[in-house]
């Protein structure tokens, strides 16, 4: 075994393969600096039969992460993509930092995977050169083989054992971008064949011999406490075996999912009302509107801040409102667990395997290494599977019975009892000078910080830094205003709040980009020209790089996505009567730049429930750095449009302490009937050397671009999500 200081560990596999261990996270640098011995947390195996196995700690939820990571490795290792198999990592001493969120997987994997692939390739070349007694510089590779002088050739598999005995190079040569065969090219998703044949295994598809199925009866309203229950009816249901209380509710255990659900219906529980049982979203929305009437804790101040408004020749303001929303992944959350003789095994589509392991161990008073977590495919994640509540429910049931159990959340459980995107209100005010230039910008946000996974402390709720961290899109806005003030007012709610696709950004960007459009209209400016100006298009005095709220923004790149979206949508060409366009842009903290232009028309024949408009065309311009797969980018762009469109059409609302939208008849997801006639994705060339996130950044600027288009089409500006469709008709 040889170790290249703080970077790579190479060893021989049983059976003659090559094992390359490397480090995924940047924590490695810190550890090395502190003198902690290098310890890999990611692995590639090159088996003697030539198979390449990449062990990944990222959860596939539909974002294509497994394919993207396999491509990055295959490119530098120089193998065909179909030679790479993906093995899902389980938490353990080698895998201490698994987890998928923040649109960061390809970004974080880029350097380590390329270095690991290039090192392995260099080792294989060196092994071949030594075997042939030639200089390594006379050897090259083609996918899966080393080629040497005079027609010599050897497959990676045959060289693997010899390569394992060598010391990896200090700086393995990386492929020049021009020679890439995979990165930047379209491929078919690796998980595709399993999905279309029904072989793909999601959280709900785990099947174990002798397993049971369980559902949990949960408090019907916020704050309800269990005073007692009568399980006679439930136990009389054929197939129901047991009913017992667990933290948070009453578990019904049965031999099939259907029996468990039927048993739960037959259960009689006595719930006592507590605080929150009268919560209603309409009253909460009023509280949020009232809250933004006053400024909260300042999260950013540039120049004179809000005080600069006083000197403005003209002032404009508007209030925008944003709803609560469930995640509504089509696969409801579920986990399977077995607790047996001091060990626990969990099968879960979790986005956070290490937390599941740690909390399960704590629940069972076991050491973490007695808990094994198997990560399955997820039927959509969107942040919901960053919670471990359902995993712990599975553990609580499994510890009380002598069989493995799948803890299933029904659709109603999933839409009513999960955690939610927080409702918010935003009040924006701009001060313009006599020439119409924006000289002051005030953005107040009122909302409820995340409370579902961890409750914020009283100190945190008053801490500008904590609140700034809950204000993406507000305090990190990219425009160069001479004076800026942003603030946050906490409005408490009994609703569990947690991560949701793009987290804090959708509401803020909707408000900010809508308001900028209002400013443009009111001052007779073109909304594109106004944005470009605010990004320094004609003013060398505006710095190209800004670091608002710690996020890095390259204003030139944001201008380029705006210009590309405008050009591709023929922004400057007038539309026929009865058509209108809207524009919006955003930069996400992953340094991903996105602009949307949306074109709308009145809907000719309107069926009940349909919006009064049709979306004729959506143009999305994206700069996400290095493009791993152009079709993957387009797929995420389309996904972002539909996600945001659902946010425009539907919400989760609460009455008497409970969500009203309990199933998909009421919780509105965009369908075929809502489809835009065309969604076009355009990649903006850039000289970045790494990929940036996509899953979340593609969501934010669609809704405001649509609102801006509708304001022009109808004269009515939607300032609230979901849109009031009746008012627009």
């Amino acid at each position: 075994m040889s170790t290249r200081r703080d970077f790579l560990k190479v060893s021989l596999l049983a059976g003659g393969g090559l094992l390359v261990g490397f480090r995924w996270t940047e924590a490695a640098e810190g550890a090395a600096a502190a003198g902690v011995p290098f310890r890999p947390n990611a692995w590639v195996r090159i088996e003697a039969d030539g198979r390449v196995v990449l062990v990944v700690g990222k959860t596939e939820m539909g974002q294509g992460v497994r394919t993207a990571l396999a491509k990055i490795l295959a490119e530098e290792l120089d193998v065909d993509l179909d030679r790479v198999e993906i093995e899902q990592a389980s938490p353990g001493p080698e895998y201490t930092d698994l987890g998928t969120g923040g649109s960061s997987s390809s970004m974080d994997g880029w350097d380590p995977l390329r270095a690991a692939g290039a090192s392995a390739r260099a080792l294989l070349v060196a092994a071949a050169a030594a075997r042939w007694g030639v200089d390594a510089s006379g050897c090259r590779t083609e996918p899966g083989r080393v080629l040497g002088p005079e027609g010599r050739a050897a497959a990676y598999g045959e060289l693997a054992a010899e390569a394992a005995a060598r010391t990896p190079p200090e700086t393995p040569p990386l492929k020049p971008a021009a020679e890439r065969r995979l990165i930047g090219r379209r491929v078919q998703r690796l998980d595709g064949p399993a999905i279309v044949t029904g072989r793909a295994r999601y959280g709900l598809d785990v099947r174990l011999p002798g397993m049971r199925f369980a559902v949990v009866a949960r408090p019907p309203r916020f704050g309800d406490r269990l005073a007692g229950f009568d399980s006679t009816g439930a136990l009389a249901v054929d197939g129901v075996e047991d009913c017992f209380a667990i933290p948070g509710g009453i578990a019904v255990v049965a031999r099939s999912t259907w029996a468990a659900l039927a048993g739960r219906r037959a259960l009689v529980a006595d719930w006592r009302a507590g605080a929150g049982g009268d919560f209603a979203s309409e009253a909460h929305a009023r509280a949020l509107r009232e809250a933004v009437a006053e400024a909260g804790v300042t999260t950013r101040r540039d120049g004179a801040g809000r005080a600069a408004l006083a000197g403005a020749a003209r002032r404009l303001h508007a209030v925008y409102e944003y709803p609560f929303a469930a995640h509504g992944a089509i696969e409801p959350v579920a986990a399977t667990a077995r607790v047996e003789s001091g060990r626990c095994e969990i099968w879960s589509p979790t986005q956070t395997p290490n937390a599941v392991q740690a909390f399960a161990a704590r629940t069972l008073a076991l050491p973490p290494d007695a808990v094994t977590v198997h990560v399955t495919l997820a039927g959509g994640g969107f942040g919901r599977r960053l919670g471990w509540d359902f995993d712990l429910e599975a553990v609580e049931v499994a510890r009380r019975i002598d069989a493995p159990v799948q803890l299933v959340w029904s659709r109603e459980d999933d839409l009513v009892h999960g955690y939610f995107q927080a409702a918010s209100a935003h009040r924006l005010e701009a001060g313009l000078d006599a020439s119409g230039r924006v000289v002051a910008w005030d953005h107040r946000k009122a909302s409820t910080p995340h409370n579902a996974r961890r409750r914020p402390s009283r100190e945190q709720l008053a801490d500008p830094q904590f609140l700034a961290g809950s204000s993406w899109g507000v305090n990190d806005q990219p425009y160069a205003f001479p004076a800026v003030e942003t603030s946050y007012r906490v409005v408490e709610a009994p609703v569990p709040i947690g991560p949701w696709r793009s987290v804090f950004a959708p509401s803020s960007v909707f408000a900010r980009e809508s308001f900028l459009d209002e400013v443009a209209l009111a001052s007779g400016r073109d909304p594109l020209a106004l944005r470009l100006e605010l990004l320094g298009a004609d003013d060398a005095g505006v710095p190209r790089i800004a670091e608002p709220g710690g996020a890095r923004v390259d204003r030139l790149r944001l201008r380029r996505v705006l210009e590309t979206a405008a050009e591709r949508s023929e922004w400057s060409r007038p539309l026929p009567a009865g058509r209108a366009r809207g524009l919006a842009a955003d930069v996400f903290h992953t340094e991903t730049y996105v602009a949307h232009v949306v074109e709308v028309a009145p809907r000719a024949r309107r069926r009940p429930g349909e919006p009064p408009f049709t979306i004729e065309r959506v143009v999305v311009a994206i700069d996400c750095g290095v493009v791993i797969d152009p079709d993957g980018v387009a797929q995420q762009a389309e996904s972002g449009v539909y996600w945001s469109l659902s946010n425009v059409l539907g919400e989760t609302s609460f009455a008497r302490g409970r969500a009203r939208e309990e199933n998909f008849d009421a919780f509105r997801i965009a369908t075929f009937a809502d489809r835009p006639r065309a969604i076009e994705t355009h990649l903006v060339p850039n000289d970045d050397e790494r990929p940036h996130g996509l899953g979340e950044p593609v969501v934010n600027s669609f809704a405001p671009a649509l609102a801006n288009a509708l304001a022009r089409l109808t004269g009515q500006r939607p300032r609230r999500l979901p849109f009031d469709l009746a008012a627009l008709g």
Partner: protein
């Protein structure tokens, strides 16, 4: 408990479960065919779609008693090897994101292609109109169905 006999993917199966049990749960929990997905249990999402005598039905809405004697095709039985034109078109168009809704979408599309060799965009959108995809794969589903239709016209199945 009475036994109910039905044919799934060409195989006769006798199931001893409550006759009110939805076919969805019979397939998933009794027969181990987990390719048929649970998304809502109320007929709203379409992810549980299977073919009953060749016609799409939502298996969460079919009680076992009603399935007696009928022939069903689930995603596992649409083809032996993923070679149905819809399955192939789904791969070529990179339709799937999380993929959870796709078995239902594919079976609905297969049934549409069996009755309309060359469906229009409106026909595709209306056949699949009640299917939900939270990942937003709709545009790719449209192109995949069109591609499958072209392929079938050029000599493949169905």
């Amino acid at each position: 408990m009475a036994e109910v006999t039905l044919t799934v993917n060409g195989v006769r199966r006798a199931v001893g479960a409550d006759p009110g049990t939805p076919l969805l749960w019979v397939l998933r929990d009794e027969l181990g065919l987990t390719g048929t997905k649970y998304g809502c249990g109320e007929g709203y999402c379409g992810s549980c779609t299977v073919l009953e005598e060749g016609a799409p039905v939502r298996s969460c809405q079919v009680p076992l008693a009603q399935a007696a004697g009928k022939r069903y095709t689930t995603i596992e039985g649409l083809s032996n090897d993923g070679s149905h034109p819809a399955q192939r078109a789904w791969l070529e168009q990179n339709v799937s994101q999380c993929g959870f809704c796709q078995p239902g979408m594919i079976l609905e599309a297969a049934a549409l292609l069996a009755r309309r060799a060359n469906p229009t965009e409106e026909e595709i959108a209306s056949a699949l109109g009640d299917h939900l995809c939270r990942c937003g794969s709709y545009p790719r589903i449209l192109s995949a169905v069109r591609l499958a239709a072209r392929r079938a016209a050029a000599g493949g199945r169905p």
